[in-house]
Symmetry: D2
Subunit: 337 residues, 4 copies
């Protein structure tokens, strides 16, 4: 860590800082600059006490960490891309995977219709929420286990892999039983107990970025999965919260090259949540593929106007099939399949 | 709800919208304006399907809700201020309550020293985290149940009420047993399963505002507590995430008059998290009291430089005692005790 | 406009609102809903007094505008795409234009080397700042008119069009004389006097999005150009300010489909400012092209490490040439040239 | 500056960085840590080339500045509080000054009525915009010089000092002639040409914080005033742009202790712009005074519902008089007059 001292402090005040640095397990290394003295504190920042607490000393101006805080998810720890296989489909390999389906599982008919349609159009993984985290307690909360059973049935009928959201530690085993990938939603992205419970099921985990999560925090939340001995983690960008109100969220596509650079884990883009508007989904998908996304997560519904959740951002079955055709040139341009 | 149609659409397209509005349970009321036609959809927005899904119709420009989405937490539902009594101390009444203590419970000595000191200075409620949600899995995660037992011991010795954070649904009963107020942290502010579990313990709940939570969403998260038959809810502003990096968060003190206006529940201010820097805490406290806060939640540690979490923002015991003296004139100016 | 009244107000209070609506030039139209009464105020919102001031009446809950505030820049006003021709190169047509060059003009050698190199790689327009808006008064402020003369010389030597930033109303004529496109920077995006001065020169104007500018505000700033009788406006997204610090700004690529939908003016993407890091520029360019950008604005410098401004985000000459090759498949996939 | 190298780089790559550091005018000082090598680059960061450009070297991980970039505005440069005298009233001294008046000057009657009323209630400085920066070109743009003349007349009649906004470099002399304080608005906070023109008039300057301006950037914009030999600068917080939409902006009251700590210049709070709602202004004023604001800038209008700009946030004359009474205890509690 780097500890910057205020200008013109006394020898005694400087000594007090050096003493505390040693006490906290680091070796101090003093550099006298033009205006300020800077102390390099040598030691492993991940194992030792943080020195940021030294800012409570009035003679300390700032403390700056030097090391990266994440380890297992980092590209340094694992040079090649991690690949995750789900029902025979590889995420993070050459082929781009398309995950599609309704926001919520609403009925057998709605789910089966959608499952067959997205499969026919080229999707390999079916999405659908059985437990829904809703802003208001008065909104539709999902079909629960009944929804999971419908997903399992759709898997059996179509051969699609299943991704569904996990909302509760207590349901981790149950949800894992019926699904192939556990989704951790944006609102739970720093619900560490849930992350640990998800990791322990052994199922692949898709970790959405929180609404106001810095990339470093997202990587560290992912670290909770790998540190709990589950290597099958994928990151999913779904838009961050900004001042802009035209779109529901601001989809941060720069996360694609950044995650590829910092981590070995696959990166998935969710343009439906990202835009919050069906009419922007196609352009978002094209951009995501061009930039190197490993998979897309797209909301599709037989009748969006009557969807029980997030209808405004869901594509129709026809809209999805048309989109799949339009995406081919961009997949090819990106050197993917 | 208000449905705004695009200019110059056909009669047929307009009729299709009106038909869907009826199908979804509302009575449409057409108003023809200068450029656009607007449809008022009359019906209870909290009971009926949302019409926002109509934006998937290409002839619809926007849909605007008219009703407020929250009910039980609203000032309309309960005109007078709600008061919550904890160990004989009333939150939301004339007396301002001070909650103080360490970020984390670290040891018996650290906790007892702090408890006696904050009590002597005038605090009535002791804070201290036994389960800590940490950005990195390699950081101190709290003492767990051992920490809860120390808190209970401090209550017995000092008579202070206890507030501590609840992190996991599965621990709700256990944490409730040892404490007087359950704190829901910012990262779990939309972890609805945790909110429901907390509500069901019957203990008063302090709900921190999420890092990027709109006030409406915060009120709706609070609605989960009241809708689960727990009337003892208080809101706690602890800073939101913005572009500014000088402070850890941006403490939004405007929440004090806003929560007072929109809701009957008490509002608590956490200046320690809000600023992330001990040297700004005093000014923040003064502002909060002047604006009408019902309580303050302040981090205090015998030796902040060696604190196991968030040392940079914790006051020393002396600093806290000094602050308590400085706050008196502002409490008086605000007409409180 | 839509005026929402509070529940249970008196007849007299309602009448006062209706009277004021009429006084301000609108025809009120009352709709009684389940909980609230809503008044549609019929009249042209762009010509009449806004009714948002009615929120100062205690019986009014909210006021919501219905009309779009922009007119001349809107797609409704001009169905087909506007095209702007600069030195024989069309922006907004089928061919994607590449604008490239150094952040600042630093010397004749630096500029000419860059100009020849970017032309050889396929750029058609040369960028370079002669007047630089710098966060600190102690940083390099640009070569001024000498820089403009170097740009004019580069145009003469290479045939490239010239884009350069206008900082001061007083210099509008001078800068227009030496350049083909006037750039309005993010920090001046709502400097309306500068916008008017730029419009009046008759030169095409590239309007960057302000750091925290909503899309509606950006379109309205563009409206200042068209309303001052200059039809040659292009919008340029260069990243917005968010909480994320990994990148300098968050490049909001959703602006491409949004501007295409709302406006007839071309949309240009600046990935250099958007990312603030040279290593992310290539991916950003690919995404922008896939999503339909009409042009890219890329910073290129013969020796970025010694650049006098923004070196961290500038590509080398070799890096730029390599990038141009990589972009071809994405241009083709987007159906452009 | 601190240059952090990537782990495991070659001796040759390290040497290349050290060579470039020397070339750019710094003396490198190597520290070998546990995982990474860190180079302290010793030299004056404000005089030398920035080393942030070194991030274009692939072996460099990050570069961190150590010095503060602002100088003349800093508390280090001037230990005691600066005081600015306007028409005999001192800003930054013991007495809190109240600046009040309409958002826009609309007519002689409107202005004179307001001027007399705010003076009677205790204000010492009259605000009023003659040139208005409006989001849309179709909105009221102010009375221009006629408005300035009305302000001058109000000064003559009432003895109040005058603060009004400067929008254009070309009008700096004219606006300075009629007013006592030049206001630089949020949208022009980094319009450096305007800042320089304002500084050169010699009039005191009130610099509003830009909508998404970091505190460091705000201080550096202020540095443009002092570096142009005008010592009479005051900072004005008026709310920043965040994701929250309940308020127009998020008033960041933490700027009061921060500006006091970092700078010697007075700090003024504008609660009207900050909240954008008249019903929140009183609480904001109380908080601001408790936290140590030197002055308040409050919008007051004889008939807000019919104001030509920003009516929703303006107080009535009665509302302002009532507020002035309510503020007294908070001024006293803060040890001010």
């Amino acid at each position: 860590m780097i500890v910057v001292l205020k200008p013109n402090i006394s020898k005694k005040d400087e000594a007090a800082v050096l003493k505390e640095i040693k006490k906290l397990g680091y070796k101090p290394h003093v550099m006298r600059g033009v205006e300020r003295t800077v102390v390099g504190a040598i030691g492993d920042e991940r194992k030792n006490h943080t020195l940021e607490t030294l800012t409570t000393f009035s003679q300390v101006e700032t403390v700056m960490p030097v090391q990266k805080r994440y380890k297992l998810v980092s590209r340094e720890a694992h040079k090649s891309n991690s690949r995750i296989t789900v029902q025979g489909h590889e995420i993070g390999g050459k082929k781009v995977q398309i995950m599609a389906g309704p926001c919520s599982v609403e009925s057998e008919k709605q789910l089966m219709t959608t499952a067959h349609a997205v499969k026919a159009a080229g999707a390999t993984i079916l999405r659908g929420g059985a437990f829904k985290p809703r802003t208001s307690p008065y909104e539709f909360q999902g079909l629960g286990e009944k929804g999971l059973k419908l997903l399992a049935k759709a898997r059996k009928e179509t051969g699609l892999g299943i991704i569904t959201e996990l909302l509760s530690e207590q349901q981790a085993e149950m949800v894992a039983e019926y699904s192939d990938i556990l989704q951790i939603g944006a609102r739970n992205a720093q619900n560490f107990q849930l992350l640990i419970a998800a990791a322990k099921t052994g199922r692949p985990v898709l970790l959405k970025r929180g609404l106001s999560m810095k990339i470093e925090e997202w990587l560290l939340a992912g670290e909770y999965i790998l540190a709990n001995e589950n290597p099958n983690l994928m990151f999913c960008e779904r838009g961050i919260r900004t001042f802009e109100t035209y779109t529901r969220n601001t989809l941060d596509l720069s996360t694609i090259p950044i995650i590829k650079k910092e981590s070995h884990c696959p990166i998935v883009i969710d343009p439906s949540q990202g835009a919050g508007r069906a009419d922007l989904v196609a352009a978002m998908c094209k951009g995501a593929l061009a930039m190197g996304a490993d998979a897309l997560l797209i909301e599709v519904h037989p009748n969006p106007a009557e969807a029980l959740s997030d209808g405004a951002q869901q594509l129709t079955l026809e809209g999805f099939a048309k989109l799949m055709g339009e995406l081919q040139p961009f997949i090819a341009a990106a050197g993917r399949e």
